[in-house]
């Protein structure tokens, strides 16, 4: 379809009104345009201004033309911006667009505007005039301020949530590990999210005489519900550990408490390793009970590493009567043991592959002699290497007996 001048609707009837309807009056088009027009000398002096802009400013033409400069129309802060950004940029580029500033009206009110300017030059290329278009930006500015406010609000809210999660997490983990005579201990907690409390936990604490208790585990789920369970587990284990010397008995007690607490609702349970350790000659003896948890890694002074499987041990809190499996391990000088949660061993290494316990064992063999802090450092490097593959929280707890050389030193 074509559309020539002859197709203008109703042209025949316009008659005498034609010049007006065809916008023949450039003067009127300039003066009453829906935006402000401003022409200034290179030094900013206003030489021409349209009626629209004068109306916004609430000023008379005679009081402005030849008497005021563009920066005079701005707020003081806007004037600094004009002198330090607008004017230099305009001089360098010859044009400038979309600069947000505020006009100050004769009545003292602020009028947000957007300025777009071009420089016209004389035959020798010297700047002669600056033409500026002024757009009313009151609505846009209100919208932007709303956006800024919403952004600030969201940032504050996020900070608050993260602070809360951090604080809560700290109450679920020991602030510092105690010193265990004759042993080196180290722990690490890697949260997968800053906004949520993780479901991993560990602790290390004195029992009777020279025996120490410790545990590390993982609650199903995360967030505030997991935090409730974690708190219950921590206090139950510490309480039971005091009167029951049998690690399997401690886990049975925990199983009863968890099963009863959450029976019938969303099932809440955990996998956990609970153990006690005491000095034995120049080394230490550890008794470890497993409730469905990933196997600990035992690292020997000569650099060999093995997984301590406690097969048949069931997770804690899911069944009325759960079975737990116990093993005894002797740590000689220079030996170490690492307990960890499955944030590490469930880290993805490919579309259909995951970092496994065996991978971890192989990675850690060769640390000779292994120390608690050395093991944690090595796993930390591993976590950094796995990067985004680590989607879950990861808790690590390592204990080691100093080697004979370092023990004497």
């Amino acid at each position: 379809m074509t559309c020539g001048p002859g197709d203008l609707p109703g042209r025949g009837e316009i008659g005498a009104d034609l010049p007006e309807l065809l916008e023949d009056s450039v003067e009127d088009l300039y003066d009453n345009a829906p935006c402000g027009y401003l022409s200034t000398l290179p030094d900013g002096t206003i030489v021409k201004i349209n009626a629209t802009l004068l109306r916004w400013l609430g000023r008379e033409r005679d009081a402005v033309v030849g008497r005021m400069s563009l920066p005079d129309l701005l707020t003081v802060g806007g004037r600094i911006y004009y002198e330090t950004h607008f004017a230099p940029l305009l001089q360098m580029q010859g044009e400038l667009g979309g600069v947000a500033l505020e006009l100050k009206t004769a009545g003292g009110a602020r009028w947000p505007v957007l300025l777009t300017a071009t420089v016209t030059s004389d035959a020798e290329g010297r700047p002669r005039l600056v033409r500026t278009v002024v757009f009313d930006a009151r609505d846009r500015r209100a919208y932007e301020e709303e956006l800024l406010r919403a952004r600030d609000e969201a940032e504050r809210e996020r900070d608050r949530v993260q602070r809360l999660a951090r604080t809560l997490q700290q109450t679920l983990l020991p602030p510092v590990l105690p010193d265990v005579p004759g042993m080196q201990v180290a722990a690490y907690y890697h949260p997968a999210s800053l906004d949520q409390v993780g479901g991993d936990f560990y602790d290390l604490f004195p029992l009777t005489g020279d025996t120490w208790g410790f545990f590390l585990g993982d609650v199903s789920g995360k967030g505030e519900n997991a935090a409730v369970v974690t708190s219950l587990i921590r206090y139950t284990l510490r309480g039971a550990a005091v009167y029951d010397p049998d690690p399997a008995g401690v886990l049975r007690h925990l199983n009863t408490v968890l099963y009863q607490a959450f029976e019938g609702t969303y099932p809440r349970f955990c996998t956990v390793l609970y153990g006690s350790i005491r000095p034995d000659g120049d080394g230490a003896v550890m008794t470890l009970a497993g409730g469905g948890h990933t196997p600990a890694v035992v690292l020997r002074a000569d650099g060999t590493a093995s997984l301590l499987h406690l097969r048949g041990g069931q997770l804690v809190g899911a069944l009325p009567e759960a079975r737990f499996v116990v093993a005894e391990v002797r740590l000689a000088p220079g030996d170490a043991i690492l307990l960890y949660t499955d944030g590490l061993t469930e880290a993805r290494t490919g579309v259909d592959s995951w970092y496994s316990e065996e991978d971890l064992r192989d990675e850690l063999s060769g640390l000779a002699p292994p120390t608690a802090s050395g093991v944690i450092d090595a796993v930390n490097r591993l976590l950094v290497g796995l990067g985004a593959g680590v989607e879950d929280d990861t808790a690590l707890l390592a204990l080691s007996v100093p080697s004979r050389e370092s023990g004497r030193a």
């Binding site: 789920g221 996998t271 409730g291 997770l315 759960a322 879950d392």
Partner: protein
């Protein structure tokens, strides 16, 4: 990350219910499975078959859904079978000591016919 969006679907069959899981079972998806399980009704002698052929991964929160399904079946005196269980999930079930709680079957068909043979 899995390309497949997570989904759970329920099919009533003559001898019970087939629950088909598609996608990874983790802390974010397991609540959906739990919700579906909560809506299942079984009667004595029926079987609940959980079809895991469409999933590859399951963490501890996925295990909680399996336990919930097992408890539901036990309450109704119905059976429960995990069908087409991928290697990784078998491994996790073994780790948490729950492999003995479930009957494991190579496929949904095998599970249903074994159940018919057993109860018939």
């Amino acid at each position: 990350m899995s390309d497949d969006a997570f989904s759970v679907s329920l099919h009533q069959v003559e001898t019970g219910v087939v629950l088909a899981v598609r996608g990874d079972l983790d802390a974010y998806t397991s609540p959906q499975l739990l919700e579906k399980i909560g809506g299942i009704s079984l009667v004595r002698g029926q079987v609940l078959v959980v079809d895991l052929s469409g999933t590859r991964f399951c963490d501890s929160s996925g295990i909680s859904a399996f336990v919930a399904a097992r408890n539901l079946a036990a309450t109704a005196h119905a059976g429960i079978v995990l069908a087409a269980v991928p290697r990784q999930i078998l491994r996790v079930l073994g780790m948490v000591g729950l492999d003995s709680l479930f009957t494991i079957s190579p496929s949904v068909q095998d599970a249903l016919s074994a159940h018919r043979a057993g109860s018939g």
